[in-house]
Amino acid sequence: MIVLAKQVPDTRNVGKDAMKADGTINRAALPAIFNPEDLNALEQALRIKDKFPGSTIIVLTMGPGRASDLLRDSLFRGADEGVLLSDRAFAGADTLATSYALSTAIKKIGDYDLILGGRQAIDGDTAQVGPQVAEKLGLPQITYSEEIINITADQIKVRRLIKGGVEVVTSPLPCLVTITGTAGEARPQNAKRVMQYKNTVAVKDDDNAVIKEWDTASVNAEIEKCGLSGSPTRVKHVENIVFQAKDSQRLGSSDNEIEGLMIELLNNHTIG
């Protein structure tokens, strides 16, 4: 099994230096966390491994060197291996260039039955990378999944969200499944595994390393399909939002003021 995961800026704590002049994100200026729905995806993989102890979980991430924190965190929770895909040539990628890069790494891993990932990442909220990776690999996809109900040697059965409800679908394996935040929460780090892997670092192009680091050459990626040059979308401009101030009426919370407001709303028929 391969789990796609992303280290994301904690978008609840964004400072002024968060964006670079070209409109891409200055990740160095922000606290980085494990994308929440990717943790849900890792948990689904771990549950399958609980049932089939012989299976292997490889967590794949693309990002700068510090993204190996996410891979160590995955090892602490029960993943077997990590792959860090890291190269300056990947920088500035939109979802399509990201998907291309991930698909080259998945092809290098080669042997897999199932690819899991979070439905979307909290920094972009696009939900595009999962389906695009599936397309690049020619695999069926099941998005918005809440639970893997059953998995056999050649088929997976999944409950997924649809507009106003749920459906149960089956797909042949291999396939790619994206997991929503409504799925089971990730198990905590295991103290023993923390001791075992806390000093594990990414090792470049070493097939025996627990955390492997690959660059564009390791995965035979075509440079023009990576990073900014492989991205059909361009950020024309960005603006920090300043709301147009209305003339608001300011009130305190005293009984008099609240009563006055309710009478006013009743009198002008805003409320009935």
């Binding site: 800026p9 964004v14 964006m19 994100i25 939109d94 399509l96 998907s99 909290i122 972009g124 909220d125 696009t126 939900a127 595009q128 990378v129 999962g130 389906p131 695009q132 599936a134 690049k136 069926p140 996809q141 998005t143 918005y144 649809i162 507009k163 106003g164 409800g165 459906e167 149960v168 679908v169 089956t170 797909s171 409504t182 059909p232 979308t233 361009r234 401009h237 960005v238 603006e239 920090n240 939002i241 709301f243 147009q244 101030a245 209305k246 608001s248 009426q249 300011r250 009130l251 305190g252 919370s253 009984d255 609240i258 009563e259 407001l261 309710m262 009478i263 805003t270 409320i271 009935g272």
Partner: protein
């Protein structure tokens, strides 16, 4: 045939075209007039004989129809195949779809197949020019795909200079829906499923399906009482429900309150939730991130209740009550009861 038209993928549920698709046809017609091109609708489903009656009035010039029972319910692969095939044949310059679960499943798959750029969850679409300073190239009449990004701290305008079609998804309720001309008539082109699909497109099977009627009427409610992180707890929402009950209002929430598990996500207002336009919106303990604002800024009147007198939402509020939700809501309940008949 290089038509340079605008495609709108029309999503169906239970044999009915979704509101979001009709909203996109409305927007698509405006963009098409600006660009001097036609508006095309793509409808993939079964029993589509009367489809023209429903969507021609939105100003649709051509409806592309693939009618096959295997297209219902939606699965990714055949819908991708059919839409890609139609795009390859007709080469539209723009392709729009709803940012629904289906649109967000289909859009990226199609964009990857065609290597075209896709922008998710746009809040506005405009036509304009673009100068690529790096490559010293000028582009005329591109689609500006405008969306909040990055936790709502910025609004980004995205363009796809070179790849076609320019693709975007838009949430339900963001665009207005308007009949263009009751008597408008275009043409329908039907395609034979046999020419498009093979058996491998149908390997994913839907074996069970439960669709429930909407649990709330948030979108159509004239009064909305919305709670954010400042409500403080699940129990805090009980007071909001009490007030909403009295005012015949619906309860909504910000993403922060939904993420905290205090309320179900069907009630989330904002870019990744529902867009509402009530006559009164009471924002309780909502700081007002741009994603939330995007979903409620067209409310006729906004009351903000917040401990923080500088909360961003106060800037768009008609009344700002500085105080705790816990304190203010019971008072509103009390004085509503005392003064209403």
């Amino acid at each position: 045939m290089d038509t340079n038209n605008i495609f709108v993928y029309c999503e169906m549920e239970g044999g009915v075209i979704l509101d979001v698709s009709l909203e996109l046809l409305t927007k698509g017609k405006k963009l098409a007039k600006k660009l001097g091109c036609n508006l095309d609708a793509v409808v993939l489903g079964e029993s589509l004989d009367n489809i023209g009656d429903v969507i021609f009035p939105y100003g649709v010039d051509t409806i592309h129809v693939v009618d096959d029972k295997r297209l219902v319910p939606y699965t990714t692969l055949p819908h991708t195949k059919a839409l890609c095939e139609l795009i390859k044949r007709h080469k539209p310059q723009i392709c729009l779809m709803g940012a629904t679960i289906i649109g967000r499943d289909l859009g990226p798959r199609v964009s990857s197949t065609l290597t075209s750029g896709l922008t998710a969850d746009c809040t506005s679409l405009e036509i304009g020019d673009f100068s690529d300073n790096k490559n010293k190239k000028e582009y005329k009449d591109l689609l500006y795909q405008i969306r909040p990004a990055f936790g709502g701290n910025i609004v980004a305008t995205i363009v796809n200079p070179d790849n076609r079609p320019q693709m975007a998804t838009v949430r339900e309720g963001v665009m207005k829906r308007e009949i263009f001309d009751e008597n408008y008539k275009g043409k329908i082109i039907k395609y034979d499923a046999k020419d498009i699909f093979d058996d491998t497109d149908f390997v994913v099977k839907v074996i069970e399906r439960h669709v429930e009627k909407a649990a709330n009427h948030l979108k159509s409610s004239p009064i909305v009482v919305a709670g954010g992180y400042g409500v403080g707890s699940k129990e805090g929402f009980d007071n909001l429900f009490k007030l909403a009950g009295l005012l015949k209002a619906e309860v909504a929430a910000s993403r922060a309150a939904v993420d905290a598990g205090w309320i179900e996500n069907e009630r989330q207002v904002g870019q990744t939730g529902v867009t509402v336009r009530p006559k009164l919106y009471i924002a309780c303990g909502i700081s007002g991130q741009i994603q939330h604002i995007a979903g409620m800024q067209d409310s006729s009147m906004i009351i903000s209740i917040n401990n923080d007198p500088e909360a961003p939402i106060n800037a768009i509020a008609d009344y700002v009550i500085t105080g705790s939700v816990e304190d203010v809501i019971p008072k509103m309940i009390k004085y509503y009861k005392q003064n209403s008949k």
